[in-house]
């Protein structure tokens, strides 16, 4: 009896907060997505069935945002995963001062996306550091911020750079768990460094790679801060940096369409869930 009481006293903050700000909002989101919501003065709801979802399919900007986000995920996730693995393996190769390198490399992950975006916007300026460097080594320069063809690529480069160290740390931890004996046995069989990497390291890291890719996909699909700051909230130039979360934001605060925004949020959730499930199949049902 007292243990029941103690249990609930320990759980009460969690139950209240998760109930009010997670469970209730999920049910509320379902409700919103089926209504047209009027926000003038009080709130009025008109039941409109699946019309928000029909509208979403017909909305060109949804498809642009989805395409931008998908392109972003398809380039950023593999690149940052491979980079993280390379960095981790390099740091794990018995070098001196491993902790210092690790702290140094981790710096971009600690820094806020707002600060990083501002620094990179400045470096991407037409007469900024990056173009100075590209011109110096004889490569073409770009209008990174203003040209729709490269604006999203600018954000990709920045995000790969800032997120890879996070996954590097996870890979590093996992590399330490691989028994040294396996490598010794392979050496006796005459395996070289590359073969050990391909036949021992990569397969044993598979569960961690699953985790890194899954978290990477979820994170990149939620791209918002960088697009918002880069484009001043518009998703420009010419919708090049428009993402699904930015679209949700615009639906709520520019057009005051809560129901439609909720429908886009469900589309985003569905895409993330489907891709995560596909990835799970691809990795043969590995679980973390």
């Amino acid at each position: 009896m007292t243990e029941n009481l103690a249990g609930y006293l320990f759980m009460i903050p969690t139950i209240l907060v998760l109930g009010t700000f997670v469970v209730l909002p999920i049910l509320y989101a379902v409700f919103l997505s089926l209504h047209k919501v009027q926000l003038l003065g009080g709130i009025e709801y008109d039941f409109i069935g699946f019309r928000n979802f029909n509208r979403l399919i017909a909305d060109e900007r949804v498809w642009i945002a989805l395409k931008n986000t998908a392109e972003y995920v398809a380039i950023v996730v593999p690149t940052q995963t491979v980079l993280a693995l390379i960095l981790a393996v390099t740091l794990n190769a018995g070098i001196r001062g491993k902790n210092w390198w690790r702290i140094l490399y981790f710096l971009p992950t600690v820094t806020s996306s707002a600060v990083l975006t501002l620094i990179f916007m400045w470096i991407y300026n037409t007469d900024g550091l990056l173009n100075d460097f590209l011109a110096f080594v004889g490569l073409p320069t770009y209008n990174w911020l203003g040209d729709p063809a490269v604006a999203l690529k600018g954000i990709m480069i920045m995000n790969i750079w800032s997120t890879a160290p996070f996954y590097m740390v996870i890979y590093l931890a996992a590399l330490q768990d691989i028994p040294q004996k396996l490598y010794e046995a392979a050496e006796l069989d005459g395996a070289n460094g590359w073969q050990k990497f391909i036949y021992i390291t990569i397969p044993l890291l598979k569960p961690v790679t699953f985790f890194v890719v899954a978290v990477g996909i979820i994170g990149t699909f939620q791209l918002f801060d960088q697009s918002y700051i880069f484009s001043g909230g518009t998703g420009g130039p010419n919708n090049a940096t428009l993402t699904l979360v930015l679209l949700i934001y615009q639906a709520v605060f520019r057009n005051l369409q809560m129901g439609y925004a909720a429908a886009i949020a469900f589309l985003l959730a569905a895409v993330i869930i489907i891709i995560t499930l596909m990835q799970q199949r691809f990795f043969g049902g590995e679980r973390i």
Binding site: G7, T14, V22, Y28, A114, I119
Partner: protein, 277 residues
């Protein structure tokens, strides 16, 4: 001959590591240096990493001339510190209850925590905005703090931690007459320090750097946190990169400090995620 055969791969390794260190550091050094340059030197187009005309004017400008900068700093500190402390307390309590206490409905609540883990944050964003609006918490500290003071991920992490925790100490304390709360306060929490430290880093940095939630629920510039303030800075001082960089440096310092302070716990928690999670 022998020496060169052994050391060439190592040399290559250090060269690669150094090149990547430059790639990591250059944006920060460039920004740091700009924060000490007058604007004329920044726009002159000469890429010099050391300021020629070193000045503290940019920092003076944002602290003295920008009346809201102190307020934004204060807001960010209040919110991030409150959110961190409340998370440490409440997540541990829930994690401990789910790991150790026996109460009716325990399995159900554990299932709810696991289910919540799988829901993308965007789904709850708009309803949370409307709920906060309905209870009059938009544009307030409590609106920023209360919805964020619990985190299902860390409840789960704390539960895993407490499940593997040796029971003997708690049993001994019980024999000494401590009740559940006394045991939690005097035995369990002190021994959970590494897990709490790792959590503190993640929660503090998450709150300190958060952009989406404040952009949605804070609209009065007086209530802005630093990321929002910094973003309006960008609009207001559109080409005053010297001020923007100085403000960015001030913003980055606390997160760096926390990270440096808790670094070794952080690495332990990464082991937890990567190896056993």
């Amino acid at each position: 001959m022998n020496i060169s055969r052994v050391s060439w791969p190592k040399v290559l390794l250090y060269v690669l590591l150094t090149i990547y260190a430059f790639i990591t550091l250059i944006p920060f050094l460039w920004a740091l240096s700009a924060s000490f340059k007058p604007l004329s030197e920044i726009v002159s187009g000469e890429p010099n990493f050391l300021p020629k005309n070193f000045t503290l004017n940019n920092y003076r400008q944002i602290f003295v001339q920008e009346p809201l900068f102190w307020r934004w700093l204060f807001n960010s500190v209040i919110i991030a510190v409150s959110v961190t402390l409340l998370n440490l307390l409440f997540n541990s309590m829930a994690g401990y209850a789910l790991a150790r206490l026996h109460f009716v409905g325990k399995r159900f609540w554990f299932f709810v925590i696991l289910a919540v883990l799988a829901v993308p944050a965007q789904i709850t964003l708009i309803p949370t905005f409307l709920i906060l609006k309905a209870i009059g918490w938009l544009n307030s500290y409590q609106g920023m703090i209360v919805p964020s003071m619990i985190n299902a991920t860390f409840i789960f992490m704390m539960r895993q931690f407490f499940v593997n925790f040796p029971k003997e100490l708690e049993e001994a304390a019980q024999l000494d007459g401590l009740n559940t709360f006394g045991i939690f306060r005097h035995i369990v929490l002190p021994l959970a320090k590494p897990a709490l430290a790792a959590q503190a880093i993640f929660v503090f940095m998450g709150s300190w750097n958060n952009f989406l939630l404040p952009v949605v629920i804070l609209f009065d510039p007086e209530m802005f946190t630093l990321p929002l303030g910094l973003n309006t800075f960008k609009g207001q001082y559109i080409s005053y990169w010297n001020y923007i960089m100085a403000a960015s440096m001030i913003f980055t310092l606390p997160a760096l400090g926390i990270y440096a302070f808790f670094n070794r716990y952080f690495i332990q928690s990464a082991t937890f995620t990567g190896g056993k999670g």
